[in-house]
């Protein structure tokens, strides 16, 4: 049963009288679906904690909002639940397990119990692995291609969640819905600067 249908049923008191005999089962399923502390539907509490930490490590709160401030984890859970195919969902969940496996091997504890330095080491290793695999993260607007690398998928989701959020777009990127003008050659102010070539 689709979640929306479940929610509709739960919200409709009268539905009980006409509900099929297995309604109690359905409600139980719905509770499971809606069950994690943050109301997430695919990630369990431990997976959620890893995602929350990793996304915030990638785009931390500085003088502007960070990934957690804009609900990156909630967006990722939505995408895993409603957007991705089963194989991609599995890739992601396995990827999270692999993050723990790496941290246990290297530091003898779960990723969420590691120090920020140790966590950074793991992200660096994941990045190296991503480059080695030659993972080409999907073009942002691709509907048909599939994800193949966990870390590329996480990065794509984290960056999308952040830069398309209201805070990310307007405060970080100075996006305006109605610019009202076009200028093709505006010198950048020192604050906005440019990316230094490295």
């Amino acid at each position: 049963m689709r979640r929306r249908e479940v929610l509709r049923l739960l919200a409709t008191g009268t539905a009980l009288q006409f509900a099929p005999r297995n309604l109690l089962v359905t409600i139980a399923q719905a509770r499971t679906l809606l069950g994690s502390p943050a109301g997430l539907r695919t990630l369990d509490a431990h997976q959620e904690a890893i995602v929350r930490m990793m996304t915030e490590l990638i785009l931390p709160r500085t003088d502007t909002a960070g990934a957690a401030d804009v609900g990156a984890t909630e967006f990722i859970d939505l995408m895993l639940t409603e957007w991705y195919e089963q194989a991609e969902r599995t890739l992601f969940v396995k990827g999270l397990a692999d993050v723990d496996a790496r941290s246990r091997m290297l530091f003898g504890k779960d990723f969420t119990d590691c120090s920020p330095m140790q966590q950074a080491d793991i992200l660096t290793a994941l990045g190296e692995h991503m480059v080695e695999e030659g993972a080409q993260p999907l073009p942002v607007e691709s509907n048909s291609a599939s994800e193949t690398n966990f870390y590329a998928m996480l990065r794509r989701l984290t960056l999308t969640a952040y830069y398309t959020s209201e805070k990310g777009a307007t405060e970080e990127l100075h996006f305006e819905i109605i610019p009202g003008m076009y200028e093709g050659c505006r010198p950048t102010s020192p604050v906005k600067g440019v990316e230094e070539e490295k």
Partner: protein, 562 residues
């Protein structure tokens, strides 16, 4: 009160050409019925260009599962996104078939305004390089008109639609009556200078010529550079039927616009050998209706207009109405696209764009203009532009943390893209027919489409890719990435040719005024009329031909000829 069923004129379709026919015929005094198969559009409610990404459930990525289920073909078009997919048909509701090895992407919009809501807005005049092409190459049949015949009509429609662009004085791409051009950005300026120097004027780069206002026109405002025109435009700055021609037709008080009206066929009187009107199925009630008029304009799009005619067989015209030539449904063309190159251009790192210009650059055709190319006929133009890479570049990078975040808050390197739109040769064997064993939801037989690009297109495609890389190398670009996406025909959404014009009724469906050779009060003014495909975007030419055909039809009516 019963519905009025008799009019002076019937226009089938309300897209680019239907809008023009509605405006012209009603302004010339005809009581005009415009039949649109789809629903009405209310700009204040339906336009979504200012809805920000953060208000979209999937943040602009689209509802992937729904798109793959409902719009697997439509969603291959860039404009069919989370905002605009509602302007595209649901594929399952509007089926067609193709042979397994000849895919065709038929991209459609069924609503008042048709595809003029989501069109690309690029607007270029065709030239005698195009109108003489078939005669010169001995291919298919000659166009029954030349540039001088259509030139005043380009002037006429441009004056009303509003085309921004830069005059270049090129014979292969005549200048329009331009509104001020949009600005090139600094990297486009740099590339333009280097191209001019390196190719000594044989190849030039200019701003795209776009049906977008850069200055106020009547009650339509100048563009405010929000960016995504395909989601609508509440200031009516870009040209569409909804933004421009239909309001003008409405103003005459002589237009009746009837949405939810699926045209089944054209009715024909065998005694007078004239069309008497059209048969319609109301898409909501499935009621069969008939409307009558003195003149019928088919503006339903290249493939829908031909489908209506094929479905209008009579004892005299057993293979489709107005098809004594046997060419109806044949010679289907589309442009080849998706081949070109992109690269990084160093310099201007301290410059940015302000505003989102809904337009790119254009490089007019340079193949087979002055010299003959050894491998293929005709040519192509490039579209593209320069932009600074955005936050998306961070996905493939390995960085993270405060410095990484800071670097992504700033614009990335300048990228430059050049992708070709190439001419497709007319070929009798690219055709559509009715699949009588399959009908749509209204009982109308669906189309079977047989269309594939040929050898000339394949050779041109390779050249489009190589020459783009050559140009980018010549301007000193780095990291040049040539590429070809083997898109099947249809995706350029420039399908045309299935009711071609011509001098000879034995080899063509329409005369030089888009009038059926066989049925004098029947006109087809959409892309069906085209005899060759040029390499430039066709909509402006459809507009000019429609206005010209309306003028001719009304004059003929006044003379008592129709």
């Amino acid at each position: 009160m019963s519905e009025q069923t008799t009019y002076d004129a019937i226009v089938v379709g309300s897209g680019i050409t239907g809008g023009w026919a509605a405006k012209e015929l009603s302004e010339k005094g005809l009581r005009t019925l415009v039949l649109e198969a789809g629903r009405p559009i209310v700009p204040e409610q339906d336009y979504v260009e200012h809805v920000p990404t953060w208000e979209m459930k999937f943040r602009g990525l689209g509802d992937r599962k729904r798109l793959l289920a409902d719009q697997p073909i439509q969603s291959t078009c860039y404009a069919c996104d989370e905002w605009s997919s509602k302007f595209f048909i649901k594929d399952k509701e509007h089926p067609y078939t193709t042979p397994q090895d000849k895919p065709f992407r038929w991209i459609r919009g069924r609503q008042v305004g048709g595809r003029s809501i989501m069109w690309g807005r690029q607007s270029y005049r065709w030239s005698d390089l195009d109108f003489e092409a078939n005669l010169r190459d001995g291919i298919a049949i000659d166009w029954p008109l030349r540039y001088k015949d259509i030139e005043p009509w380009y002037d006429y429609v441009e004056e009303f639609a509003g085309i921004s662009g830069e005059a270049l004085g090129l014979p292969q791409l005549p200048d329009s009556k331009f509104l001020p051009p949009m600005e090139l950005n600094c990297t486009e300026r740099l590339v333009r200078e280097r191209v001019a120097k390196h190719f000594s004027g044989e190849r030039v780069l200019t701003i795209g010529r776009a049906a977008i206002l850069t200055a106020e026109k009547g009650d339509r405002a100048a563009c405010h550079y929000c960016g995504p025109c395909e989601r609508g435009c509440i200031t009516r700055s870009y040209f569409s039927s909804l933004n421009a021609t239909l309001p003008a037709a409405e103003k005459t008080g002589r237009m009746t616009l009837r949405p939810f009206s699926v045209v089944h066929s054209v009715s024909f009187d065998s005694k007078t050998r004239r069309a008497t009107g059209v048969r319609v199925i109301d898409s909501r009630t499935h009621a069969a209706l008939e409307f009558r008029a003195k003149v019928v304009f088919l503006c339903a799009s290249t493939l829908e207009s031909v489908r209506i005619l094929l479905n209008s067989s009579t004892p005299e015209f057993s293979n489709g109405l107005a098809n004594s030539s046997g060419e109806l449904g044949h010679n289907l063309m589309d442009h080849i696209m998706g081949s070109g190159a992109e690269a990084t251009v160093l310099g201007n790192e301290d410059k940015v764009e302000i505003g989102r210009r809904p337009n790119g650059v254009y490089m007019p055709r340079f193949r087979n203009v002055k010299t003959k190319h050894p491998e293929f006929l005709r040519g192509y133009g490039y579209q593209g532009g320069a932009f600074r890479e955005g936050w998306e570049r961070g996905i493939t990078q390995v960085g993270f943390g405060p410095d990484f975040k800071k670097s992504l808050s700033r614009p990335g390197p300048w990228r430059f893209t050049l992708y070709g739109f190439g001419e497709c040769l007319p070929n009798h064997n690219n055709f559509v027919e009715l699949d009588k064993s399959n009908t749509d939801a209204w009982g109308i037989p669906i189309l079977k489409i047989f269309c594939a690009f040929g050898e000339n297109e394949d050779k041109m495609r390779r050249d489009m890719e190589m020459a783009a890389a050559e140009i980018l190398a010549a301007v000193g670009a780095r990291n040049i990435q040539p590429g070809t996406q083997e898109d099947p025909p249809g995706l350029a959404i420039h399908e045309m040719g299935t009711a071609r014009m011509g001098h000879d009724p034995k080899t063509s469906v329409l005369n030089a005024f888009n009038q059926s050779h066989d049925v004098k009060n029947l006109f087809v003014t959409d892309g069906g009329a085209m005899v060759s495909s040029s390499c430039v975007n066709p909509s402006l030419t459809y507009m000019a031909l429609t206005a010209r055909a309306c003028d001719y039809a009304v004059k003929q009516m006044k003379k008592g000829e129709l």
